[in-house]
Symmetry: C2
Subunit: 401 residues, 2 copies
């Protein structure tokens, strides 16, 4: 297949880790007969430096036209004066919003080789396999902000439609897994959370009779996630809570440096539908195909509604280690696997990358964040280890052919 | 000394754990020659059942007049229909607001006997000794809430004065400890967090030259708290972030059932003072006396500004185990120690209680939440173990006399 992939390296270690993932994607293309073309554009601090804007118009245009987007990370001390008028993060937030990337999938499945790096006791981690579905285009991130000399404010707002589509996404995903969804809110205090809980309850009851839905308060969840991580499968929550809980959950996996993410959305408009109206469930805007292997190319320019996908590691730009060649590239490489799965429908190739990363970790190719003080390798050596694994036969791909 | 203590048992296990703490306070009074009188009032679900209101006027009046308040917990499934007009939590929130209890201190110091119950690897916990100072009367908890058929919203608002007083409190506390303060915000996204960061920076620079202030983003902090808990001493943050991070931090201590809290404030009005004005630091509304032993009775009715204090375990009402006599009373007993320290200036007695709880834990008196599957004792046996320890000589108190 042919696909246009937009690469947005961003700031700090962003260029290093995206280069690693592109090298892996080129290897996959060569080995399995695909043609991926890569275009690079600026975002974040790098874009501010070049043009004054964190999301220049040509970056947004390229993003809208690409089959999928691979992003590094944005931000850094250079641009973080609290009084600055433009900030790198605005570029990423504006891109998520403009492309309607409302469902941010953050899978957490601890790898044996990384148990040493996790602060959590190993016996609690056995069998942990969860996905956080974080709402990504609403809530306090995008509500009105105000500032006077004496007072600042941020508005947290959610509509029924915004909640419904992301809960549906989580429920569809759950049907491909264990069928369990944990919805996280703060319904004992927040009005938005009460609406969230009502809508989640309604969606599960009316549209997903086979899904078991439970509710957790965000404060308890911050505890349960550590005390009994195996108890969770699909976790769905609003933007801010998802931001905090996924960084916390990353500690289950030992390092942020192992966690990829997929931000999915659709170019279709959000249908307006009050909670108590009888409006139909309608055609799902997305098919939540995570884990399904035989799905067609979802970014297809076939005149239908387009599924958009942006893929990025959940770690930040790590300015303290930028340019030293020591950043862990695995999370970005695993994000490239999610790109193949969710945007290009190449499930087998995605699994081959995931197996190659696992094998590299098993073989002890550990970057500093994973080595727990032991000998560590750099970005290029880790990337080379994955590429070497990809040269070996990959059972999943062979099976398909 | 004589002190009027208001007891608000609340819901679920609240009555069981406050009864335990009252028994301990009576023991301390008898042994060290104090006269504590206890009045009990309703709050939360119990108050809704009795009067339709979660904070009845006579409860509020009693709270305003008491020297200190000991609270159990509020809430439970009986009252948590998302469409309910009154909720138990409103009672607690209204009380915090009415009494101006803006600084919620949540100390976390893992006890050796509880390391088995913690999901965190034991070597990371050695030497952990931190206090979260959570802002408790502002932010998204108290901003305007709106709801229409299609949209809900919560406003997060902070003024310079609100931020300043709680940061000052944290800095004063730090001066009695290691001198380090970590301020947690989400300044790369939220306007309130940018104001928070500016004010925190200004307060530390202008008023506390001996305090070392660092800033962390809340998502990173959720990680660092687990990966390197020893690195933190005093952590100051806004209401919602504090709610989440302290429940997370409770896992360092093995169980929520060991964590007390003090909610401190002052009857004085908040002075209005824009960030860029040259208004003086002024007389601190509170002296942040945690850890100082020779301080006077702060609840004194001496005509000066009154320091208010409410003490409660950070756990909830645990309706699933209510009435079974198995709830862990240690967090509430330790909250009573904080009451003696912060509201009554009885530092020595506070330490004697803390030592008695430690000794009871050392001797293996573990409730189910701490026993990690081993044999467990109930609420009364745990309370009796603490009281038995309090009959023995307590070095701290002997030293003082
Ligand atoms: C960089 C920042 C704006 C972003 C967020 O808060 O969403 C990041 O923390 C993330 O989780 O993707
Ligand atoms: C009961 C609830 C309103 C409360 C809060 O969120 O503040 C509780 O979780 C706490 O932490 O004291």
């Amino acid at each position: 297949m042919h696909a246009d992939i937009l690469v947005l390296p961003g700031d700090g270690i962003g260029p290093e880790v995206t280069a690693a993932a592109v090298a892996v994607l080129r290897t996959v293309a060569a080995r399995y007969g695909h043609r991926f073309s890569f275009t690079e554009k600026l975002i974040g601090g790098a874009a501010i430096d070049a043009s004054g804007e964190p999301l220049p118009p040509d970056t947004l245009a390229a993003a809208s036209n690409a089959d999928a987007i691979l992003l590094g990370a944005v931000g850094g001390p250079k641009w973080s004066d609290p009084k600055a008028q433009v900030r790198p993060e605005q570029g990423l937030l504006a891109l998520r919003k403009a492309l309607g990337l409302y469902a941010n999938l953050r899978p957490v499945k601890p790898h044996a080789a990384a148990l040493g790096a996790s602060p959590i006791k190993p016996h609690l981690l056995q069998g942990v396999d969860l996905v956080v579905v974080r709402e990504l285009t609403g809530g306090i991130y995008f509500g009105q902000k105000q500032r006077s000399a004496d007072v600042a404010s941020d508005l947290c707002e959610y509509s029924v439609g915004e909640i419904r589509r992301v809960v549906r996404h989580a429920c569809r995903l759950a049907l491909q897994r264990s069928g369990r969804v944990t919805s996280v809110d703060k319904a004992n205090v927040l009005e938005t959370s009460r609406l969230w809980r009502e809508v989640a309850t309604q969606v599960a009851r009316d549209e997903f009779p086979d899904v078991t839905l439970e509710h957790q308060l965000v404060d308890s969840m911050a505890m349960h996630l550590l005390a009994r991580p195996r108890a969770f499968d699909v976790i769905v929550t609003e933007n801010m809570f998802g931001d905090i809980l996924t960084d916390e959950a990353s500690m289950l996996a030992g390092s942020l440096g192992l966690l990829p993410s997929a931000s999915l959305g659709s170019s279709g408009a959000l249908t307006h539908c009050p909670i108590d109206s009888a409006c139909a469930a309608g055609r799902p805007a997305m098919d939540g195909r995570a884990g399904v292997s035989a799905s067609p190319h979802s970014g297809a320019k076939d005149g239908g509604e387009r599924v958009m996908g942006l893929y990025e590691p959940i770690h930040g730009s790590a300015p303290d280690i930028a340019g030293q060649g020591i950043a862990n590239p695995y999370a970005t490489i695993l994000s490239a696997a999610l790109l193949l799965r969710h945007s290009l429908g190449l499930e087998a190739e995605a699994r081959c990358i995931e197996q190659a990363v696992s094998a590299a970790l098993d073989a002890g190719h550990l970057t500093a964040d994973l080595a727990a003080g032991g000998p560590a390798i750099g970005t290029q050596a880790a990337t080379a280890a994955v590429i070497a694994q990809l040269q070996l036969p990959c059972q999943v791909a062979e099976l398909r052919d």
